[in-house]
Symmetry: C2
Subunit: 219 residues, 2 copies
DNA sequence: CCCGCTACTCACCGATTGGTGACAGCGGGA
DNA sequence: TCCCGCTGTCACCAATCGGTGAGTAGCGGG
């Protein structure tokens, strides 16, 4: 048997920090998931890896393998968490407006989506990830995000039907594409196609242009 | 004084490939630049590094440091090369159409840009890079791309003035954002906001929606 | 013919990556 | 009380990364 006392003394700062992590698998799992989401949101997918997540969670990476089956499972858990995105962003009322026409609806939806993405770094990082990589793990994350977005749109749309004669699905996809790219460009470079996207005044101009476009198609 | 014959024989596949690279600095520089552009276009910015470029160029990475001053200089050289992007994509005529209104112009420009980006993997990768990272090297590359795009738009616009009463700069930025995001989403996931972007039929629908949007704002 | 300049290659460095096996320590059940 | 299982830690692995210093190979001018 080896001398434990010596071994304990040889530990760096042994006893310096009184709060030793209690043995709680659930808490550790939550800490890992939170670390992963925070890391992805703050640093982006570039330096998103087992080592970085474990470092941020303050535990050994082995636990990530054990509890989530590696990075893939962890990413999948993040995707599952994305389901909560929807219910957090469904306003109870229509903001005091009466949405009589499909144009009213889409204008409001566009601006809401723009703001929601502007204030959601995690969603932005996932969006950028989707565009930059095409691996299986990203594809599944993308699917979860896409599903959340679709559900959100459906809930918001209510029973209002799109006008006939226009391919609303395609038009809306183009509009959503514009919103997503504007937000991504703003978050990284602060501009898009020469249009500055920094100050709130910039965003007012952008919102106005977006409204004008939506009104142009849907009247 | 050392035996060359033995040394030659010890080389792997010595004499197997008769074409030994001639000593030509210019050619090597061009090979490195071509390797960098090809690698970026095909593999994306994720695995874009000194080692990978040198491997593809078939030379030692040391030469990249020597001739381009490292990856930064190489990226800058790619950016400088982007200036040629403009002149390659300026059609001589207007495709037999008379562009009487600003709406005519923007509709045509939108579709041209859509196609140009769809057929330019390097530009797409750079675009995705801009959105995902915000380092100095990417910022400079972004600037070069932005400048090229602005020049292209200016050349194409000619002397046609935008209608009064609309913030054409903002509206056009939104439209360009939509185009860029659609192309990026198509290249990675094959869809955007539930809209499939794979077959040519998909793209026809998208183009129609885009035209409808442009016509909506600019009449 | 030889020498020197230059293009080029190689070997090595420390750091970091994803991944695995072994071990320590606590706690509950037999 | 002993022991097994679960939680957590640590040490180590091969591979790859960016980066550097030293040395080789070949062409051209004297």
């Amino acid at each position: 048997m080896l001398d434990e006392a010596v071994k304990l003394e040889s530990l760096p700062e042994a006893g310096g920090e009184p709060e030793r992590r209690v043995r709680d698998r659930g808490a550790t799992e939550r800490a890992i998931l939170a670390a992963a989401k925070g890391l992805l949101a703050e640093e982006g997918f570039q330096n998103f890896g087992i080592n970085a997540v474990a470092r941020r969670a303050g535990c050994d990476k082995q636990l990530i393998y054990r509890y989530y089956g590696g990075l893939d499972g962890l990413v999948e858990a993040i995707g599952a968490d994305l389901g909560t995105w929807v219910k957090d962003r469904i306003p109870e009322d229509t903001g005091g407006m009466f949405l009589l026409t499909y144009g009213d609806l889409m204008e409001r939806l566009s601006l809401l989506l723009l703001d929601a993405l502007r204030n959601d770094p995690l969603m932005r990082r996932i969006l950028a990830w989707e565009i930059s990589e095409n691996t299986e793990q990203v594809r599944r994350l993308s699917e979860a995000r896409s599903k959340a977005l679709a559900l959100w749109l459906e809930r918001m749309r209510g029973s209002l039907a799109p006008p006939k004669g226009v391919d609303a699905a395609a038009v809306n996809a183009v509009i959503i594409a514009a919103i997503q790219h504007l937000v991504l460009a703003a978050a990284s470079g602060g501009q898009c196609a020469g249009l500055s996207l920094k100050t709130s005044k910039d965003w007012e101009k952008t919102a106005t242009a977006l409204k004008r476009i939506v009104r142009g198609v849907y009247g």
